[in-house]
Symmetry: C2
Subunit: 385 residues, 2 copies
């Protein structure tokens, strides 16, 4: 980067980021105080990273953009996983890419993802590939109702899936999802969703954050509670073992997140986790770490991909993270709430779009929950439509 | 700001900052997550704010720059106090300026500053104006040795002053300081320097941070310990009362800092404070608040000048702030230190120049001090020359 660029000109390290959304913005917020400069490649408007580094606005297959992007970079990472894997591999021939593009490959295809869970002995729900209406019918026979049909690729925030409760739902479901390769999964009657965010270094150091509890509305994360209450040592071990195994198998470098369903077993305290999906990047359920952990998931991702030592992943304050969805709300009212820490993404408002979040801190989990409840008086909740 | 500018295009609030140093950078770091965009006016290179907002690089008397700077701003503030007061007043005719330019006036002239302390009943050391060698001689007669001769304007980091211990020192001292208006102050044999950072809102809310202890080397702050150990309730009250009185007298809006000498009184626990100087802005001795307080001095300054409610000023972690002076050090080694939080300013290295700081956190004051001591193994201290 030349001194005239938007990035700090004399930074010791130059990180390229594929994608220019809020996760990229928050990576830069965390990395710039460490002396790291950022360059983003995003074919779109990339509002959130405006002013956080150079924005290369070009299609993924633009060769000139490729050259401009990689020029002078020390390392490349992603802030969203639907980057072409081939592009990531091509970049890796000239600049180190962390995490390895193989992690994108796994995360982009739900069949690869679930198969990888299975091959690593990570418990997950039953699944079968579905390549046509006939395959759907036989998969339903094997898995039974209720089940969920999902596109193998490009699903997010509850999009690209259909819940099948009876034969009527199944009729035409494959076509409604666009007649693309799909996966049928057994519907999990879960008690709650937990997720584990962790970070791994190139020399194999693995550091998990505490397990957190997530709440979704219409497939969109609306709230994360950190730490999750009532997590047994067995559940914690199961989650950490699973994420560590996955990270090691992928020789993963950076922040990784895995969502789990916590389901009841035979007795009241016999609970177990089923892995649902992996994100090969910083994750919305880790946003609480900006204010509630000693070192944020963003800073630790930057540290890991840059080969810098990790910061502690311990909890500083029990935190409830509340997403601002569809509208940013009234900053003045939000900031007047006890324990509220605001993170605006600089995005235009649009129904269903994540435009910011608030981390609500408390001295205890109950205090944080009470304060998050009080916040509802000024921000009632997501406007999804 | 147009969407093509470096500032986030859709921010609700647009803040203009006079000055483009590290304090401006950290104001932007704190303010942008609140949805605030920044524009800086600095006649110099302004390395630290590169990529943190639009930089208007022009002399202070450039009329076209004036128009470009104020266009569309909601409020203007400063990140250093040696801005021409007349410029601040001219800006205040078209955009609200916080704190009021009157605060600059007081802080730019040591005689006004000390006189203001005196008129508000804030204890300070003896002082007399010195406008020539003759006035110096009679001032020395009144104040006695040792004393400190300081230029009334533009002194910082120990520059623009001479310690006078005997008549030999006095000979030619006025001329060595450039034959400019000076002030002679009684030398204070202080036990330690404490400072109080506080923030005040337009509607008169006043919120002090805890008193901190500062250590200087050759006039440059090298270390701040927060909170200061062994502060009596009487000392705390004296500091808070003084800063509140000053802030109210100036109808101050934003973060303000006052440095005090703590001196021994008649008996061991009879200690008192003498106000030394005021900074009408965020202050180096408040940098610990980025990691050690619930809300940083930077965020609270932004909140105050934008008319947003303040965040809590309570302590989260005992913290020792260590300035990186002259050289940035090895980020990898610094980040490997327990409890270390790095803040790089994006500045070129130069002897005596503040190029970053590290906030070292601990669960207790002693733990933070021990960790700061351990940090010396990788960053031995300031290189002032």
């Amino acid at each position: 980067m030349t001194p005239g660029d938007a990035g700090a000109p004399i930074a010791d390290l130059r990180v390229g980021v594929l994608g220019g959304g809020q996760l990229g913005r928050m990576l830069a917020e965390a990395g710039r105080p460490l002396g790291v400069a950022f360059r983003f490649w995003d074919p779109g408007e990339a509002e959130p990273i405006a002013g956080f580094g150079e924005h290369i606005c070009a299609a993924w297959d633009d060769d000139a953009a490729f050259e401009r992007f990689v020029d002078g970079l020390d390392v490349v990472t992603y802030e969203f996983e639907n980057v072409p894997v081939e592009l990531a591999r091509r970049i890796a021939e000239v600049v180190p890419v962390h995490p390895d593009p193989a992690a994108l490959d796994v995360a982009q295809d739900r069949l690869s993802e679930k198969s990888r869970f299975e091959s690593l002995g990570i418990a997950t729900n039953a699944f079968l590939p579905v390549d046509g209406p006939g395959a759907l019918a036989s998969a339903i026979e094997a898995v039974g109702y209720p089940a969920v049909l999902k596109t193998r690729r490009l699903g997010y925030d509850g999009k690209g899936q259909e819940v099948l409760r009876r034969p009527d739902d199944t009729q035409g479901a494959f076509e409604r999802l666009g007649s693309v390769p799909c996966i049928l999964e057994a519907f999990v009657p879960f008690d709650r969703e937990l997720s584990l965010v962790a970070v791994r270094t190139a020399d194999g150091r693995f550091a998990p954050y505490p397990l957190v509890e997530n709440t979704h509305v219409e497939g969109i994360l609306v709230r994360t509670e950190a730490p999750a209450e009532g997590v047994s040592a067995a559940i914690r071990d199961q989650a950490e073992t699973a994420v560590r195994a996955l990270a090691e198998a992928l020789d993963y470098v950076g922040t990784i997140a895995v969502e789990f369903f916590e389901v009841a077993g035979g007795s009241a305290d016999d609970r177990r986790l089923l892995a649902n999906e992996v994100a090969p990047r910083v994750h919305n359920s880790g946003h609480w770490t900006q204010d509630g952990a000693v070192t944020s998931q963003f800073e630790n991702h930057v540290r890991a991909v840059c080969g810098l030592p990790l910061g502690p992943t311990g909890i500083a304050w029990p935190t409830v993270m509340v997403n601002l969805i569809g509208r940013r709300g009234d900053a003045e009212a939000l900031l007047a709430c006890d324990g509220a820490r605001l993170h605006d993404y600089g995005k235009s408002e649009r129904p269903g779009r994540k435009v910011g979040h608030v981390n609500v801190l408390g001295s205890t989990g109950q205090a944080a929950r009470d304060r998050a409840e009080a916040l509802r008086a000024v921000y009632a909740g997501p406007e999804l439509r």
